[in-house]
């Protein structure tokens, strides 16, 4: 415990609150030199009891922490200046002319919409999947993830039994079919 002589001048209420707001590993290690994002102070720890004993000014202020990954997307923001400059149209149009690009974009939008509607229609229906290495399985389709990398299925029928819940890798699929 903190001795009465050491005053923790940090505005956060308890040492553990401090750890939670600055150290992504909730670390109690004595050499953690994480900086508090609010006050830009660093904590010094007692080597005996591993409690914070003093606050020190960090030699350099950190304006903010680096931004972490977005849990909902894979990033590569299409509105970033670099994306807009280097990929004015991300459509590799074979013709390369204005009108052709528009028509190609319209076709792509239509195909994409049809694909998404197919996925919706497939929900909770038995679907046959043709995969690489001659694998053919049948399962009840649940949902796709946002990047269409995995399909969530139930009652997957495999040669070694029925798997109640499973994820199928879309990269491994050649085609799939179902009765409408």
């Amino acid at each position: 415990m903190l001795s009465p002589q050491t005053t923790l001048i940090h505005p956060h209420t308890t040492p553990y609150d401090f750890y939670h707001t600055t150290c992504p590993f909730h670390c109690y290690a004595r050499d953690c030199n994480q900086v508090c994002g609010v006050t830009n102070m660093m904590v010094e720890f007692s080597t005996a009891c591993r409690q914070p004993v003093a606050m020190k000014k960090a030699p350099v202020t950190v304006l903010r922490l680096p931004r972490g990954p977005d849990p909902n997307s894979r990033g590569f923001d299409p509105n970033s200046p670099r994306f807009i400059a280097l990929c004015p149209t991300s459509i590799p149009s074979s013709a390369g002319e204005g009108a052709c690009i528009e028509e190609e974009q319209r076709s792509r939008s239509e195909l994409r919409e049809r694909f998404l509607r197919t996925l919706i229609k497939m929900s909770n229906k038995p679907v046959n999947f043709d995969m690489y290495e001659g694998v053919q399985v049948r399962a009840k389709f649940g949902a796709s993830d946002i990047d269409v990398l995995n399909f969530q299925v139930s009652e997957l029928q495999t040669p070694i039994g029925v798997q109640k819940e499973a994820l199928l890798r879309c990269h491994d699929m050649i085609s799939f079919s179902f009765d409408v």
Partner: protein
């Protein structure tokens, strides 16, 4: 003496970070790619560490990652027996190059037209990225898994380091080994500095510097711990190294003196690289994080802002309240 520095910690990976590479300086700044055992290499803004995107598609640990000079293409080497080429602007997978074993290392030529790959199948492969379906040029000779392979000498030669404790210099046209360096222990990392033709090699507790043409030894420096990776500053005044004891060491290249050491990582440091402008260096660790460290501590650069020593606590608090990012509360 361990000094204090405020590194910028980049979280996001869930497994150890085993490789990292910077791009060149582009009109949009410079970029950093990290290879991780979680199979999801990430692209970050080089000077701030801000996440830009994750390359999704590999089905195994990613052992090597690189960017081309313009940061328009990325390449990754993975345990799923494939190397992949990606569009580094959109994040889309452009090519998958199937191999017969774990791929450990990838490197672009200066013009980004060829890709060098190597791994546990002991072969060096050169792919023409304009004709990816064509069979790659294969160079054999190593007797164990290849850990690192790099283009050098104007992309006319290749340097490779393998678990057979040798580093070999190959001529690209003849596929022949021009020179071989043999060591007592396995080489843990290799870096090639084109400007000055210097090769930085680490093995055991040693950081060694060689001439990349002749493979003559320039100098060696011994560190207090087993070193996994080292990097030489573009101006060749310092080099940094990291290894088993979790610390980052900074040495004077000329005098070989240890200048500073920094604690911060919670696991062994696997890779360390200077940025192309030399203002910072990035380290990747077993703890799953990347940390960006300032070369000149106390300088205003990127997300670091110099703090005058005369500042009082109140002044510090009010000065910072304008330009601060309050990290979200993370409950245990």
């Amino acid at each position: 003496m361990a000094m204090r520095q405020t590194p910028l910690t980049c979280s996001g990976h869930t497994r150890p970070v085993v490789d990292l590479a910077f791009s060149g300086i582009t009109p949009y700044g410079y970029f950093l790619i990290s290879a991780c055992k979680d199979g999801k290499p990430m692209l970050r803004q080089g000077d701030t560490g801000d996440w830009i995107g994750t390359f999704l598609g590999h089905k195994g640990a990613v052992w090597g990652a690189t960017l081309n000079k313009e940061a328009t293409k990325a390449a990754t080497a993975a345990a799923d027996f494939s190397a992949k080429v990606w569009d580094a602007v959109t994040g889309e997978e452009v090519l998958t190059l199937a191999h017969k074993h774990i791929v450990k290392t990838v490197d672009f030529t200066q013009d980004s037209n060829s890709l060098l790959t190597a791994g546990n199948d002991k072969l060096l492969r050169i792919y023409d990225l304009n004709k990816p379906e064509a069979e790659p040029q294969e160079i054999s000779g190593h007797t164990s898994a290849i850990k690192k392979a790099l283009w050098c000498n104007n992309d006319q030669q290749i340097l490779s380091a393998a678990d057979d404790k040798t580093i070999r210099l190959w001529d690209k046209t003849s596929s022949e080994a021009v020179k071989t360096l043999t060591f007592d222990q396995a080489v843990s990392s290799m870096e090639y500095i084109p400007d000055g033709e210097i090769l930085v090699i680490t093995y055991g507790k040693t950081v060694a510097f060689y001439n990349a043409h002749s493979l003559d030894l320039i100098k060696t420096v011994d560190a207090p711990t087993s070193i996994h990776s080292a990097s030489l500053h573009p101006d060749k005044d310092y080099f940094v190294a990291g290894g088993d004891d979790f610390k980052l060491y900074k040495y004077d290249y000329t005098t070989k003196e240890e200048m500073e050491s920094y604690k911060g990582h919670f696991g062994p440091v696997h890779c360390v690289r200077f940025s192309p402008d030399g203002e910072l260096y990035a380290s990747g660790s077993e703890d799953g994080t990347l940390r960006l460290w300032q070369t000149a501590v106390g300088k205003t650069y990127g997300l670091w802002k110099c703090v005058l020593p005369a500042c009082t606590t109140e002044e510090l608090a009010s000065e910072n309240s304008d330009a601060i990012y309050c990290p979200p509360e993370i409950k245990a």
